[in-house]
Symmetry: C2
Subunit: 221 residues, 2 copies
Amino acid sequence: MVNQEAKTPRERYRAQVRTEIKERAWEQIATAGASALSLNAIAKQLGMSGPALYRYYAGRDELITELVRDAYRSLADTLRAASSRPGADVSTLASALRTWALEDPQRYFLIFGTPVPGYHAPDDITAIASEVMATILDAFAELPPNGTATAFDAHLEEHRDWADGHPAPAATLHRALAFWTRLHGALSLELAGHFTGMGFDPARFYAAELDELTGPKGDGM
Amino acid sequence: MVNQEAKTPRERYRAQVRTEIKERAWEQIATAGASALSLNAIAKQLGMSGPALYRYYAGRDELITELVRDAYRSLADTLRAASSRPGADVSTLASALRTWALEDPQRYFLIFGTPVPGYHAPDDITAIASEVMATILDAFAELPPNGTATAFDAHLEEHRDWADGHPAPAATLHRALAFWTRLHGALSLELAGHFTGMGFDPARFYAAELDELTGPKGDGM
DNA sequence: TCGCGTTCGTTAGAAGTTATAACTCGACGG
DNA sequence: CCGTCGAGTTATAACTTCTAACGAACGCGA
């Protein structure tokens, strides 16, 4: 984002090699998945041999963490950009999310897929995650309230720390949460191929889920 | 299914070693994830060295495929058992699903988690998957219809092959589909730890999602 | 312009992994 | 009783991540 201009030529070189490494890593992940990511193979593709990569990343884990960070950053930027387009609403956000996910399914699964048992995301990554949540919350805050307050709304009212001071009512928090989980449910099953062979169009199902999210009780805009 | 009693003592022994291998594999998967599954480590735990396992499984992939099959089988049996309890309904199914998932999160992710790009599930596994779907469909078929027909319902009516001859109307198919994807959305994010630190109770959110699934329009029993 | 130090990339090697090949030995069945 | 089949062995190849030690080149300051 910032700081594109590095001071010393060595730093420039170093930064450039680091991004080249990540580019190759993304190629590998897109074709064979994150678990098949091989530092050796990346090094060979860059024309250098094996352990040279350790000058740039402490190991496989650090590289993957960096990739997760980039993926989150990309998602947050994509959603933020979509929400700031004129006339943007919740459905704009939803289709931006789906487009982003279809663009590189493995990138999506790197964030929302199977977790590694021991791993805990560093704080800066969770910060980006809450930035994504804030974008969704903003979009729902502009929608008129719908439906009656549920028991879960009351529970949410007592646990609204994650909204990070957002003034929206608990019902809105609830809708944003459902937006996230329902679209993730539809999207992740589609990307994982669980819909293949079922015949129906995943895009239409996604749209149907979105419809029910934006106005199940049938109040207009 | 059948043929539990093996004829020759060698076959008995062979079957017993195969299940012992799978038991160790499940332990490894539960603690370190499926990607960390090591045939060598399993062999050592069984007191035999390395390549001996290849007498029982052609390789890592075949073992994992077998584990996926067992996981699906376990899920299908669990749901079927829950649905056949007296007084069982959709919410019985939902809580059975959640209990099963929490029992061993990595087993859940083995089925519904990040897909391996090249892999295609064998036919018998997809058969078990549709058995699960049938159980969900049966449960919803016993519920009174609710809500108005949506555009997606019409689309589903033309693509109801996956229901495998189930007589339920398209709206019911839609509800069963939403049951699957929404609960998966809530469940997978919870199991992956994306809710940790957000404060609210995942179980209550799950229940809220289920409530909206069983009767959003508010027709009771 | 010249040296010197930082940093990059190399090869070598350890400790893992999956998987194959070849061999030994024991048990089961005719 | 003996032959065959199969289980488990070691040896090996081809991978992987990652550490250690070495050489060379690059660029900064004098």
